[in-house]
């Protein structure tokens, strides 16, 4: 049987032996040369692949760094801005109190001082939530979802409009939920507080309706309100960092961004439907984990 050599070696043999072929006793030599050709070609392919993969990795990490850098830029700009605003109003109020006649209603000023301080505190809490989510690993435990929602309302009870808001909660649990309870709290605190914050001022039957279903594979929660709604043009941006859909928006601009980032850690998803002037519905789906995941 005629031995099969590497393609280029076959060509070389044909070319330089003028088609006469090579004596059989040279087979071991040619086999050895052929194997080196094969290995050389394979090594070349390997090096090309290494270079391709490394270049892709470099591009990816560059993009990632760019994104982080932009976020950091926006973060520094917005935080300094947002941290300063309530401080300036506190300083202004302190000036007034110092210069005003003491008979004036100090209590009213103190309330304004408190409002500014609460705003500052909320903003800083949001930043802490954000940084906690980026830094900490997912900690999976058995979760009582009803108590997560209850705790959220309890926590948000001091917010104006919370007590008068009609709360409809329906939780169908067909399976035990395993997940990261702290992260779930962050997500639903934010979504519920939005429903409280953005009620329509001119109606009395404001509601938030929470429908949850827990199965062995996932947790699905719909949070629907009849609040002010979001204009269609802004819908694509509401999950961006420091994005506020309107000048009247009262929050830090971090809330939905944190929800999105936290969901990413839990491999969850969020969808939003909204009609301006009629209300908003968020649908959250999160995979049910197993213990130790």
């Amino acid at each position: 049987m005629k031995p099969t050599y590497n393609k280029i070696l076959n060509r070389q043999i044909k070319k330089y032996s003028n088609g006469k072929g090579i004596p059989e006793d040279l087979d071991p030599l040619l086999n050895s040369i052929s194997e080196f050709y094969d290995n050389f070609e394979r090594d070349q392919k390997l090096v090309e692949r290494v270079m391709d993969l490394s270049s892709d990795e470099l591009m990816d990490s560059n993009l990632e760094l760019k994104k982080l850098n932009e976020e950091m830029d926006r973060f520094v700009y917005s935080t300094s801005h947002d941290l300063r605003a309530p401080l300036l109003s506190i300083l202004g109020l302190l000036n007034i109190i110092e210069n005003e006649n003491t008979q004036y209603d100090i209590k009213g000023y103190l309330k304004l001082l408190r409002d500014s301080t609460v705003k500052l505190d909320r903003f800083i809490s949001d930043i802490i939530d954000y940084s906690r989510n980026t830094r900490l690993d997912v900690n999976c435990v058995e979760v009582n979802f009803t108590s997560i929602i209850d705790e959220s309302f309890k926590h948000l009870n001091y917010m104006p409009g919370c007590s008068t808001l009609l709360k409809l909660i329906n939780i169908d649990d067909h399976a035990t939920l395993y997940n990261d309870d702290r992260r779930l709290s962050i997500i639903f605190n934010n979504l519920i507080s939005n429903a409280i914050k953005y009620q329509k001022p001119d109606i009395e039957d404001s509601f938030v309706n929470i429908e949850a279903e827990i199965t062995a594979t996932e947790l699905k929660v719909e949070i629907e309100d009849n609040g002010v709604g979001i204009e269609e043009q802004y819908l694509d941006h509401i999950f961006d960092m420091f994005y506020r859909a309107s000048p009247e928006a009262k929050g830090s601009g971090l809330g939905l961004y944190i929800v999105q980032e936290t969901l990413e850690k839990l491999n969850g998803q969020i969808e939003v439907e909204s009609t301006f002037g009629q209300g908003t519905k968020f649908t959250v789906t999160i995979p049910n984990m197993t213990l130790g995941a």
Partner: protein
């Protein structure tokens, strides 16, 4: 120091390579051979009757190195007579102690340390964790005492290996030889001839010598990205591209030979520890650079130690090199002979792990994929 050598194979029986009539004057005899021959009681008895007073150190290999050639299915006997140097030997059985570290710790504790200038180790290759053995050896021993030698080998990958002291080779034994006095110069060198390629990765999940993840990516996925499609058998492919651990010693990397992949737990078995947090890159080589490295090992086992012409060179090369060299194994030994000259006696074997300091005056380490040479020169 005088050295005489003989070789046995089934067809020709004993071949005398050099005869200085050492007989009862021989103090130390190295017996390296195939796994079946080192277990042959009759052959051992013959060696014993020729060298009635010597300490006989036996080790199996996955190929035998003798007189400038690589052979298989032979038994190779190298007898040494020292004029002034004293030696002491001891053997620890893995079964009698807790683990590989403990084997090393026992040897380093029990070996006489006054005037100890060098320690040679010949260890079982398949039951002993070589990295732990070395940590144990260094536990009770000054770093100034170089440790050289290797783990025994076998022709079939992962099968049993055999070592023995004054007895035929058996499983689970580790033998230490201490050399004493200032009249014996001992040189050593360990060279691989491999170069790193591809990105640097961190070991993020491993247990001893089983590696699971690099940068949190399963080890097989990592290799597949690079090697899929270029090779038919992924396990064989990974053997050609082992990993090199970054060390403090400049660009030199500590090579780790890939042995096998466990599909059940996703673990890749390496021939030495793969500590979490260590930085690794894939390594590649070719026949030329392996042969050149063997020659470099020969030069650097003599020059820095001011040894002109060694009386004896013990060569421990890696099974993984055989895998790349294939038909060219003899050429790597020729590379060594070219440096020492044909008259220098040489003996050794292909091993599951080589032991030597990474460089002169450095701590000894377990290597893979290297040619590791220990040279002897007695000043008389």
């Amino acid at each position: 120091m005088r050295v005489e050598q003989r070789q046995w194979n089934k067809n020709d029986g004993w071949q005398i390579l050099s005869n200085l009539k050492l007989r009862a004057k021989a103090q130390l005899v190295f017996v390296f051979g195939s796994t079946d021959l080192v277990q042959d009681q009759h052959l051992f008895d013959e060696v014993r009757s020729i060298y009635p007073k010597a300490e006989i150190v036996v080790s199996s290999g996955s190929g035998e190195i003798m007189a400038g050639k690589v052979a298989q299915h032979t038994l190779n006997v190298t007898a040494l007579h020292f004029e002034k140097t004293k030696i002491k030997t001891l053997e620890i059985n893995l079964e009698d102690v807790k683990d590989s570290f403990d084997v090393g710790a026992h040897i380093s504790a029990q070996i006489e340390k006054d005037g100890l200038s060098n320690l040679m180790i010949f260890s079982n290759g398949n039951q002993i964790n070589g990295s732990h053995l070395l940590t144990g050896l260094q536990f009770n021993l000054s770093e100034a005492v170089p440790i050289t030698g290797g783990l025994a080998g076998a022709y079939d990958p992962f099968s049993s290996t055999y070592t023995g002291l004054n007895a035929i080779g058996t499983e689970g034994k580790v033998i230490g030889i201490g050399f004493y006095g200032e009249d014996l110069k001992i040189g050593h060198s360990s060279k691989a001839g491999w170069t790193p390629f591809g990105p640097e990765r961190f070991i993020t999940k491993s247990t001893n010598n089983i590696l699971f993840e690099l940068n949190e990516e399963p080890i097989l996925d990592f290799y597949k990205k690079y090697l899929d499609g270029l090779f038919e058998d992924m396990v064989e492919a990974i053997r050609i591209y082992p990993l090199g651990i970054k060390t403090d010693n400049g660009h030199e990397r500590l090579l780790r030979a890939f042995l096998d992949y466990n599909t059940e737990n996703g673990g890749a078995l390496f021939a030495g520890d793969m500590p979490e947090g260590a930085r690794v890159r894939m390594m590649r080589s070719n026949v030329n650079s392996l042969i050149d490295a063997a020659g470099e090992a020969a030069s650097s086992s003599t020059q820095p130690f001011e040894i002109q012409k060694p009386d004896l060179a013990i060569c421990v090369s890696c099974v993984g090199r055989q895998f790349v060299l294939q038909d060219w194994v003899n050429e790597e030994i020729e590379g060594v002979t070219d440096i020492f000259g044909e008259e220098t006696p040489m003996a050794g074997f292909y091993s599951y792990g080589e032991i030597a300091p990474q460089a002169p005056n450095q701590k000894s380490a377990l290597h893979n994929h290297t040619m590791t040479i220990t040279t002897f020169k007695e000043l008389v």
